[in-house]
Symmetry: C2
Subunit: 395 residues, 2 copies
Amino acid sequence: MRLQADEALVVEAVRRNGAISRTRIAAITGFSRAKITSVANGLLAKEILAEIGDGVSEGGRKPRLLHFNNQLGYVVGVDLGATSLSVAVARFSGEILAHCSEPVDVRDGPEIVLGRVIDLALDLLAHHDIAPEQIRGIGLGVPGPVEFATGLLIAPPIMPGWEAYPIREAMQSAFPNSITMVDNDVNIMALGELRSGAGVGVENFIFIKVGTGIGCGIVARGSIYRGSTGCAGDVGHICVDRNGPVCHCGNTGCLEAMAAGPPIAQRATEAAHAARSDILLRYLEQGNGVLTAADVGKAAAEGDRIAIEIIQDSGRMVGEVLASLVNFFNPSLILIGGGVANIGFQLLSSIRQGVLLRSLPLSTRHLQIDYSPMGAEAGIIGAVSLALDHVFIIH
Amino acid sequence: MRLQADEALVVEAVRRNGAISRTRIAAITGFSRAKITSVANGLLAKEILAEIGDGVSEGGRKPRLLHFNNQLGYVVGVDLGATSLSVAVARFSGEILAHCSEPVDVRDGPEIVLGRVIDLALDLLAHHDIAPEQIRGIGLGVPGPVEFATGLLIAPPIMPGWEAYPIREAMQSAFPNSITMVDNDVNIMALGELRSGAGVGVENFIFIKVGTGIGCGIVARGSIYRGSTGCAGDVGHICVDRNGPVCHCGNTGCLEAMAAGPPIAQRATEAAHAARSDILLRYLEQGNGVLTAADVGKAAAEGDRIAIEIIQDSGRMVGEVLASLVNFFNPSLILIGGGVANIGFQLLSSIRQGVLLRSLPLSTRHLQIDYSPMGAEAGIIGAVSLALDHVFIIH
């Protein structure tokens, strides 16, 4: 949907604030009363905004509030990971109407996986009597590097068959009135935090995801920074130890190969087999010979010394890499998300120690380091935000 | 000097292009002919622009060209290093009229050092019959972290007595019609490259200075990125080797302590004393017991194996740190400047190898790594650009 610059400012005020009075819009935009009246009337006539109920009186008559018109349509957010898929349908206000998740194997390729994305979205819509034509925007996060302008994946290491696949066209064939934006999964998590989480109002921050792999989303001067070829934030292959194990990228001692979920599970498995930890051995047996990073977290919570040590080592390595990035990028906030972020408090405190030990005091004086409060939701909320950020075109 | 938004766009077109026709300004700004006429007439009336000579005819009458009015005044650029000081006087076109340098010890404190800055600038002005009142803007680079909004140094490690010193007021007392902007010395080098060097038109790049210390200036989305507390780019204390030597910052194995000018000179001195290199020993004797990084470069140029090895080690370490930053920041250009950049081609090729070895292919596919073509001039050109960037205030 096309907006003029003035209209875009009013729409943005509604997005950020929800139902809002004309007086408040005037305060935010700096527009005169006459201008607000004219722009708002235009948006009401175009059925983009609607008047809803009464606001709180500030002395006189209760003001009528403006919000998005319910007839305007909906957006879809999609968070696609290596092994999981989440789909949400949201109103223009950002309110999520419906949400579902299922396991997926992204290596099945775009036809199969995008087919599931579309089926899940259509199911959600059907349950809410929404027609596919009412979807105006789609935001889609994928576990690989994306050329943002075109929405195409570029040489994705874990997504065979997806390189340069026309995702936008595939989505538009099912949702003919929509525009689809594609971005890296960590970028949409950072965007979720920026738009409605711990990153609201923070100019420069890093969202680091520690899961099967490790990557980060970067917010610079209030918006997602993607770099020159769209692969900024690919920190999983920064070297931690030149003598470390060989990584799937071909180099040795990459952060991802030493501190992500799989190496945590592997070190714990070795300790269990070597009978160095009864607790880990119990989890190994319960798991029929398979230990996960989550099991290591549970063992640590029970006080298992080996499990705690493994988690602390992982946190220290993540912290050391972050220390370099803090010296370079000087953010005021680091948020830690991803599956391994649920492993317990030892990880966070070791990351903090690693950062503080190796960063310059001036860089860390006002630096906050925390687990992402949104957790697993950051991705899907970010995907919805990505759709909403691009559903209006300013001309 | 205050400009309206429309005027600022025209002034910017003159800055970027030099003498320019109204037709060309129209093409750049997208303004109508009538609007150009009205805005240009306003700027002529304010004596900000002047008509100069004739341009090349494009069929009809030769167009009159617009340029900055010579009566408008001048700007001063200052590049202050730990041990050297450069001052330049420039026209609004950016053309440098006069330029001088002298050794300085920044530890003498702000009164003495800024006194020399002012004296040198006044000398240059006197030689060109320019009154101090004709200076409209001053750009000043300093070797420490700066809070850009206030122009104050924050906890500068090598500048005792400068913390929160009112540099702007000191400069204004000598140049009453000027506004002074202060920035970190590496940021102004990056700005010099961005405005008139290898960085023109490059969205995201890193300028790394290798000298007595190591630091970098960051350009993100076409402008200098300073981070949350103004200390972005402080990469000299990123850890290269946990078992490395102790750095003055208190940590061990910092890049600066292992790869900058002083450790290069120190390793060479040790090799000369141990009689492992005749060539280095000769330079040591010629220097009365003192070897510099520049001597190591000369020895390498003569084919000295030890000197070459020392330079290659240094380059490899710089390259490894840059590899991490490339994975994180995904720039399309890295420029290497500072005194040690004159040490020879081995440094550059080792840096390139270090980066390529440890960066992801997608990040380096379009990455260019070069010595700064501006070299030592980048700082003073950047200081002039900094002044020109802020001499007009848009309201």
